[in-house]
């Protein structure tokens, strides 16, 4: 067996373990929290009273125009200076959640705004309250518009979790770094880590097309907007 293959097989266990214990949980928790936050922010910007909408706008602005790595450093290394100490994993969850919240809220806001006014009117004419119209009529249609972009955000998040290595989260990329420190084989280990991200993200984009097909089963997308 060639040396590189032997090393890859030996490292596969620790890398997959780091992936299962940190990369995947971090992705799922941050994405779930981020989407919930994004919906609140999107609704605040679309329908909230002016001060609330302005606050939401400011939040989105700050998190979209500063680097994710810098945000993580501020939370993990910066906040202790003012007495706020957060462990590495929760700090990463907070950082990624706030980042996803900002990006996904823009996607959701655009998707909700893209549903024609006539759909609101049809829901109101049926006797629905604004909340019912939103839940039963607007959000299901907006979801279909938003899913492709949100899936991209999700796949980007899987890859971005490697930044958590920089704030000491022992996720997959950091596991690779640790093995490199003892084997001095950076090419083999980093390529291996890249391959695992490749498989993970390819599986996700395959799931994405399935979800899009399911959401799109009612057809008429282009006709409805022609």
């Amino acid at each position: 067996m060639p040396h590189w293959l032997d090393l890859m097989l030996q490292s596969l266990g620790p890398l997959l373990e780091a992936c299962l214990r940190f990369t995947i949980p971090l992705t799922l928790i941050a994405f779930a929290l981020g989407l919930s936050l994004a919906l609140v922010i999107a609704l605040a910007r679309l329908f909230g009273p002016r001060p609330l909408a302005a606050l939401a706008w400011t939040y989105v602005w700050i998190f979209r125009v500063t680097p994710l790595l810098v945000q993580l450093f501020v939370i993990f290394y910066g906040l202790p200076s003012v007495g706020i100490l957060i462990d590495a994993f929760p700090a990463a969850v907070i950082g990624f959640t706030l980042n996803i919240g900002a990006y996904a809220s823009e996607i959701m806001r655009a998707a909700i705004a893209s549903i024609p006014k006539g759909q609101w009117e049809a829901a109101y004419a049926t006797g629905m309250t604004p909340a019912q119209a939103m839940r039963r009529t607007i959000l299901p249609q907006a979801a279909r518009v938003a899913v492709p972009s949100l899936s991209n955000t999700f796949i980007a998040l899987v890859k971005d979790t490697s930044l958590a290595a920089a704030i000491t989260v022992p996720e997959m990329f950091q596991a690779a770094q640790r093995i490199v420190a003892v084997t001095y084989e950076p090419l083999i280990l980093y390529v291996e880590a890249a391959l695992i991200y490749l498989v993970l993200c390819s599986a996700l984009s395959w799931l994405q097309s399935g979800l899009e097909r399911r959401l799109g089963r009612y057809g008429g997308y282009l006709e409805a907007r022609a």
Binding site: G118, Q119, E121, A122, A123, Y124, A125, T126, G127, M128, T129, Q132, R136, T137, P140, Q141, R144, R217, Y218, G219, G220, E223, A224
Partner: protein, 251 residues
């Protein structure tokens, strides 16, 4: 009793309705006609409060709403009015993410709290009535415009509204598809459904309406039975308008 009294509506500084009085007799069909911009669609939308008038009164059975500038009517009253009216839109506005039968049951279940099975039974009856029971499980996007509008009529009728509002129900349809919608509306009229419709479809107004109301510049110019109003319009504005409609090759 269904009536609008002294209704005024402005969009910004532009007055659309300037004190409209209109009584809609129950069990009858009233058609609003008039040039575009005359306010007929706006008037219709004031009845189910998709537009809130700045002044005037709406009477719908036991409900009486007085409008004042800057004061929105109570949420409870708005919902009560909408639950007693059904609306058919020019562009159908079916819910595209719900099947035909779900479009009809949606209001019954979400708003009326009907049990699912009862709602389905009621929806199938209505789809039967508009001749689309066999399309119950289809998606709206797979239907022709005429079929979509018939589903929209079934949806509007589901909660047995006291009044059916139709905003240009045939304007988005080719003549042969419009004909199937006119047939359905004529059937409802025979059964005594109270309807108020905005239209410039002469065939629809002639065949279905008991009273035609001619609006121009946000006021009622004249009204009467269609045969009379179309044959012997009293006001020169009505005469001009009827002539343009006939000139378009309607009838």
């Amino acid at each position: 009793m269904i009536a609008l009294q002294a209704i005024e509506k402005r969009f910004g500084d532009t007055p659309i309705l300037r004190g409209v009085d209109l009584t809609v007799p129950e069990g009858r069909v009233t058609a609003l006609i008039g040039p575009s911009g005359s306010g007929k669609s706006t008037l219709l939308r004031c009845v189910n409060l998709l537009e809130i008038p700045q002044a005037g009164t709406l009477v719908l059975g036991a409900l009486r709403l007085d409008f004042r500038p800057g004061a929105a009517p109570a949420r409870r009253d708005v919902l009560a009015v909408r639950r007693q009216t059904g609306m058919v839109f020019q562009n159908f506005q079916l819910f595209p993410h719900r099947t035909v039968i779900e479009n009809v049951t949606e209001g019954l279940i979400t708003v009326g709290q009907w049990p699912k099975e009862a709602a389905r039974t009621r929806a199938l009856e209505l789809l039967e009535r508009v001749g689309l029971a066999q399309k119950a499980e289809a998606w709206p996007a797979s239907l022709s415009g005429g079929q979509q509008q018939r589903v929209a009529i079934a949806r509007a009728l589901a909660p047995s509204p006291r009044l059916l509002l139709c905003d240009e129900p045939t304007s988005a349809l080719d003549p042969e598809l419009a004909a199937e919608v006119v047939d359905v509306l004529a059937g409802l009229a025979r059964e005594g459904m109270t309807m108020l419709m905005a239209t410039h479809d002469l065939r629809l107004a002639r065949r279905v309406a008991d009273t035609v109301v001619f609006l121009d510049g946000g006021t009622v110019v004249e009204q009467g039975p269609p045969a009379e109003l179309f044959a012997r319009p009293a006001d020169p504005r009505t005469r001009r308008f009827v002539q343009t409609l006939l000139g378009e090759g309607g009838a």
